[in-house]
Amino acid sequence: MAGSGSHAVPASSAAPAPTGAPRSTNEGSPVRALLREVRRVARGILGSDAYDNYLAHHRVAGGAQPPLSEREFWREKYAAQDRSPEGRCC
């Protein structure tokens, strides 16, 4: 993982391991691993990981510009949602 270096990803935002080391069973106890997994899935379902996904894409696609800050990203995301709404079922 080519480090998001210049870009401060807050430690709390669960972007998994900064070194690209796969999360694996040898980090801490199985209970902690399970809790981490639950947290990751719960954040994913709520959509809290959108900025992490964006950074990951930025890293892979390697755009010329530095990535948006977290604040800018969320503004842009809600603006996009304003332009194309998603349905919710009954």
Binding site: M1, A2, S13, A15, P16, A17, G20, A21, P22, R23, E37, R40, V41, A42, R43, G44, I45, L46, G47, S48, A50, Y51, D52, N53, Y54, L55, A56, H57, H58, R59, V60, A61, G62, E70, R71, F73, W74, R75, K77, Y78, A79, A80, Q81, D82, R83, S84, P85, E86, G87, R88, C89, C90
Partner: protein, 765 residues
């Protein structure tokens, strides 16, 4: 966006390159031979499936055949869950192998159009939760409650069998065809596959069906909150709570969605608890005791504002709250049913199953049971969700069974739980709550008299019981609280207070249930209004280009206003209906939703016929024809039935003639004014029935014609996106098989060397 990953070694993947040089990526799918080995039957597996089959069989036996003195709710859980497991493993797999034929060498839109925003390869378990949260709302909680009038068995059979053969198949296939087309919407696919006429009919059907669904959901909220100070206070507070969350996310801590959701949830509980103090104080009771017509207008105004405000203010934060509550409450309710194992009060098949004049909804079991329970068994609206967001997030084609088919099975289980909650309350209370105010007079005495006069065996209620139940749940009255939500709330309170809080917490749990249903519905109301507004803007854009510019405020207000007037007028009509509203309009909701399902299945039929499938098309054609029959026959009865209790036009004529004869009362309408209202309402309802069925019939006829053409080898359009070789791997099911784990390990190593290829950004899980 130049984000499509260009494979630098075009011939790299495929089974042939396993274990090749370091720079060649591992294959994008598990070797089929290994997969077959994994699926081989072992004695342990056979024993496991035999146990599942036996448990499920025992559940069905207890529900359908044995039906002892008292049936325990735990048998519903066994019957449903074991049926789902068998269906997922065998029928879902059959559809996957014979009809869908997923190809994991093919990149999904999330991979080839990866943009980090809309197109993101998403962990299958996250996407499962995400998809489920998007499809499940108040629908599966309401329909089964209303259908409980016919006893628990017809509803249970339809919910379980319907989902297995129809609902889950539709969700699965729509997800697949949209995924193969870059996440294209249902409307666009209808245009592509059916041509102009079919496309327009599908458009009109979708837009009008959306408006009626929003209107009837809003009516459920109005009925639940009318004359309930506690309910109005706690549900009303969700608006400032959501706005607070919106500002928190915008200005204080952007992106901390989980944190703000926990905070919002705590505030929500506080809003529920504080409702008791407000309702018991003189000023609170006075201020928040609001009549239903006023509430309806409040929701209409709210719906307009919520749809024109930027999403970050209200819609997005409330959606987080709703998702949080949805998953939490459903897990909680499942645990509570298993722990409490309530005893079922309703008969397996009630007297109303063979009659057409039930007080909760009218019409015979066939077809009206099948349209009353829409969401939970088969919901056409899901086709709008399954074509849209979810297909842009799927990592591998073979995951679609878990997400599409599996997600719908989960929703069906929610419907079963709602049914259990509704049939575990006393039958006398059930009928007192669900008969229209015109029948009960709105008083406990009138309700007791009406319910006891129904002449149902074993159903008897006295006014004191009704008054006591109302005071237990912290309401002034529970008589004629139609719409399903209050009944479900009484049932849920009856189950939950035995786990947490005892009798003193009944009122809390009741209002908790009302709150979470209202939360889903309000989210559906503004999301639905927004989607409808964009559909209308797109249509008007054909005449006046500027409508397609979303930043044109006047256009946005105009289109939103039109859509709000559309559903708002139906809502007001239902709320003011002298005959009760829910019992006349709910069948229209079900018919609309099922007609949309018939439309979606028709499109799937054409797509797979054009892909060269033959006999396996029956897996689509059978549920499609069944849906077509129940909805067309249901509409036919609503339009042509000479029985005024069933047919809109028969009722219309009966009231018109009575008015012409100078009468001032007929049936439940007691003034000439009311009678004129009935004449108008039945004309609107009858016209909507005609509109829906005509549009859906056009779509189905065009689809059948295209299918026959395809079977003869004519007009074989290929509307799929071109094949792109996948350079990505993820397991297919909830748990990875040994072969998948091994391949995942090789991908991890590969991506460590090539972090620039790591689309999921964080390794594979």
């Amino acid at each position: 966006m130049p984000s499509t990953p260009v494979p630098d070694t075009p011939d790299s993947s495929g089974p042939g390159s396993r274990g090749a040089a370091t720079d060649v990526p591992p294959p994008a799918h598990v070797d089929p031979a290994l997969q077959r080995a994994h699926r081989r039957w072992t004695p342990a597996k056979i024993a496991l499936w035999a146990v599942i089959a036996l448990l499920g069989g025992a559940g069905w036996f207890m529900l359908a055949v044995y039906r002892g003195e008292s049936v325990n709710a735990i048998w519903f859980v066994f019957a449903a869950v074991c049926s789902y497991l068998i269906a997922y493993r065998f029928y879902g797999k059959f559809i996957e192998d014979k009809l869908v034929r997923p190809d994991d060498r093919r990149a999904t839109p999330a991979e080839y159009a990866h943009d980090g925003k809309d197109f993101v390869p998403t962990d299958r378990r996250i996407l499962f939760g995400h998809h489920f949260a998007a499809i499940a709302g108040a629908g599966p909680l309401v329909g089964p409650v209303i259908a409980a009038q016919m006893g628990y068995l017809p509803g249970t059979i339809w919910i379980v069998v319907g989902v297995i053969l129809a609902g889950a198949v539709q969700d699965f296939l729509v997800l697949v065809i949209s995924m193969r087309r870059g996440g294209r919407s249902l409307g666009k696919m209808a245009r592509d596959e059916l041509g102009l006429v079919g496309g327009i009919a599908a458009f009109v059907a979708t837009l009008s069906i959306m408006l009626i669904i929003v209107a009837i959901l809003a009516m459920v909220v109005v009925n639940a909150l009318g004359e309930s100070a506690w309910g109005v206070w706690s549900v009303g507070l969700t608006i400032p709570i959501a706005i607070f969350m919106g500002f928190y996310l915008r200005y204080l801590r952007p992106g901390k969605v989980f944190e703000v959701s926990v905070l919002g949830c705590a505030l929500l509980l506080l809003a529920i608890v504080s409702g008791r103090w407000v309702a018991e104080s003189g000023w609170g009771a006075e201020l928040f005791h609001i009549d239903r017509p006023v509430l309806a207008i409040a929701i209409i105004v709210y719906g307009f504002l919520a749809a024109v405000l930027p999403v970050w203010v209200l819609l997005a934060p409330r959606d987080y709250l709703s998702t949080f509550m949805k998953i939490g409450t459903i897990v909680m309710l499942a645990l509570a049913i298993v722990l409490v194992r309530p005893v079922i009060e309703a008969p397996a098949v009630s007297e109303f199953a063979s009659r057409t004049d039930g007080p909760v909804f009218t019409g015979a079991l066939f077809p009206f049971l099948f349209v009353t329970i829409a969401c939970g068994a088969l919901s056409g609206f899901h086709a709008m969700i399954a074509s849209g967001t979810s297909p842009k997030l799927v990592e591998k084609e073979s995951q679609t069974r878990m997400i599409g088919y599996g997600g719908m099975l989960m929703e069906s289980f929610v419907a079963i739980m709602a049914l259990v909650a509704a049939v575990s309350i006393d039958q006398g209370i059930y009928y007192a709550m669900n008969s229209s105010a015109a029948a009960t007079g709105g008083t406990v005495e009138g309700a007791a008299q009406f319910v006891n006069s129904l002449g149902l065996t074993g159903v008897h209620v006295d006014p004191a019981t009704l008054a006591q139940t109302a005071s237990d749940v912290g309401e002034e009255s529970i008589v004629s609280r139609t719409g399903g939500a209050p009944t479900l709330a009484v049932g849920l309170a009856g189950i939950m207070h035995e786990v947490v809080g005892g009798a003193g917490m009944m009122a809390f749990w009741y209002h908790f249930a009302i709150m979470f249903e209202a939360l889903f519905i309000l989210t559906s109301v503004d999301a639905g209004t927004r989607v409808a507004r964009f559909m209308l803007a797109d249509l008007l854009g054909g005449a006046h280009k500027r409508f397609r510019d979303p930043s044109w405020r006047l256009g946005a207000w105009l289109t939103t206003g039109l859509m709000v007037i559309g559903w708002g007028s139906i809502l007001l009509m239902g709320v003011l209906d002298p005959l009760g509203g829910i019992n006349t309009l709910f069948p229209l909701f079900g018919i609309a939703n099922q007609l949309l399902a018939a439309v979606a299945l028709s499109i799937c039929l054409v797509v797979f016929a054009r892909k060269g499938r033959r006999w396996t098309l029956l897996a689509i054609a059978v549920p499609m024809v069944f849906t077509a029959v129940i909805t067309v026959y249901g509409s036919f009865q609503k339009i042509f039935s000479p029985d005024p209790k069933v047919g809109y036009w028969a009722n219309h004529l009966a009231y018109r003639e009575a008015l012409a004869a100078g009468e001032t009362q007929l049936g439940l309408a007691t003034t000439a004014e009311d009678m004129r209202t009935v004449v108008f309402n039945t004309a609107v309802q009858g016209s909507l029935s005609i509109l829906f069925v005509v549009c859906a019939l056009i779509v189905m006829v065009v689809a059948l014609w295209r299918t026959v053409q395809a079977l003869r080898g004519q007009n074989l359009l290929d509307t799929e996106d071109p094949f792109v070789e996948s350079e990505y791997f993820a397991p297919a099911g909830m748990l990875a098989t040994p072969a998948e784990k091994e391949l995942q390990g090789r991908w991890r190593e590969h991506l460590e060397r090539h972090p620039d290829k790591d689309l999921a950004g964080g390794g594979h899980h």
